[in-house]
């Protein structure tokens, strides 16, 4: 059994608008048999935080194109993307790319 995990989730660049405009969420993931990875986290967010229009946030089992995921201020690609095993107190940021000038 993996113990419950405390995470700080942040949404920015407009992605926060899918979460009632709230940028910072302190969340606790319940304990589960397998360790929590980012793939599980996305499902958990979709089921527990996302209020509407999930297609604007997730696509398949990943985030939709144009959202950058940061784990402790590093591009998630450097951390293993969906397979990254979350640690207690991790900071995970979902940021929509901006195109305005």
């Amino acid at each position: 059994m993996a113990a419950p995990l405390s995470l700080q989730l942040e949404f920015g660049g407009g992605a926060e608008l899918l979460f009632d405009g709230i940028r910072k969420h302190q969340v606790t993931l319940p304990s589960q048999k397998k360790p929590w990875d980012v793939r599980n986290l996305l499902v958990w967010i979709k089921e527990n935080l996302l209020k509407e229009r999930p297609e604007l946030f997730v696509q398949g089992d990943s985030v939709r194109p144009g959202i950058l995921v940061l784990i402790n201020d590093a591009d998630w690609e450097l951390m293993g993307e969906l397979d990254y095993l979350l640690q207690d107190q991790d900071n995970v940021v979902f940021i929509s790319t901006l195109h305005g000038g």
Binding site: G12, G13, G14, E55, L56, R64, P65, G66, I67, L68, L70, D73, A74, D75, E77, L78, I95, S96, T97, L98, H99, G100, G101
Partner: protein, 283 residues
């Protein structure tokens, strides 16, 4: 291509004296700056401060690209333009303001939209490219043209109370497509007209963008490559993000590129290359 390194005139030495004394720049850095050319794509909220500080610093030649004319709702952030220039093409309005600030800089207005047919030549004619555009298709177009022409790309964006800055295709680092291989669904993209923008936010991002251009063009070295800067104006907070390396499977800068010529970016993105209307399918 860089121009010949002409010596600094006595007036140049006076004009740039406050930065010539910096050991990190010095006369050799100033000469590289005045021998260099920068393409500024977009003369709006980002392009105005970028062009303003590049001209002030003494870049040799500035190419200023914008298809639009100055409108009243631009003036809260597009600080090179003036009430008397409402209705004037932005590229021309910007070039004229820059000429009054520093007549030693050659400012060339291009009153046109960057497109697959003109982008490669324009990018090839400059040493560094600043993407100050306002829409998704142009961002991919500028990126691909920079990769095909082998030019560093300093890219900034701003919306509402946030901004982002990164240097692409520089010193072996990633390109824009390495980070964003697929364009965002058009319905998820907000422009400044719909989402709004606090005018000083592109001002902050644009001055930071100008700094990165100056560092690259003068040879001071850009430490921003391989990282992204995020700014949140409400919190007044910057965040430095470590980015992935170049993707060897990237469609344009990878080891076996599939994009070897410029494409139809409006089709690729499913949206139009203007800030005015959001998605082609809404037309």
């Amino acid at each position: 291509a860089p121009g010949p390194l002409l010596p600094l005139s006595r007036l140049d030495i006076r004009r740039y004296s406050r930065q010539l004394v910096l050991p990190e720049l010095g006369v050799s850095g100033q000469l590289r700056l005045s021998g260099s050319s920068v393409l500024v794509v977009g003369c709006g909220g980002l392009g105005c401060p970028v062009a303003q500080y590049l001209a002030a610093a003494g870049v040799g030649r500035l190419g200023l690209v914008d298809p639009d004319v100055v409108e009243l709702d631009n003036l809260h952030r597009q600080v090179l333009h003036r009430e008397s220039r409402l209705g004037t093409p932005k590229a021309r309005s910007a070039a004229s303001a820059l000429g009054e600030l520093n007549s030693r800089v050659r400012c060339v207005p291009y009153e046109l939209a960057l497109s697959p047919s003109n982008a490669l030549q324009l990018v090839r004619d400059h040493d560094v490219v600043a993407d100050c555009s306002d829409n998704v298709p142009t961002r991919y177009l500028v990126n691909d043209a920079c990769v095909l022409a082998g030019k560093p790309l300093v890219s900034a964006s701003a919306l509402r109370l946030e901004g982002q800055l990164a240097v692409y295709n520089h010193r072996g680092g990633p390109c824009y497509r390495c980070l964003f291989p697929k364009p965002p669904p058009p319905e998820t993209v907000t422009n400044c007209a719909d989402g709004g923008v606090l005018g000083v936010v592109p001002g902050i991002l644009g001055t930071l963008q100008a700094l990165e251009v100056i560092k690259i063009a003068s040879g001071m070295g850009a430490t921003c490559h391989g990282s992204m800067l995020l700014f949140d104006a409400l919190e007044g907070r910057f965040r430095h993000i470590k980015l992935r390396p170049r993707d060897p499977r990237c469609a344009v800068c990878g080891d076996h590129p599939t994009v070897t010529a410029l494409q139809d970016y409006e089709e690729f993105c499913g949206s139009s290359a203007t800030d005015k209307c959001r998605a082609l399918h809404l037309l």
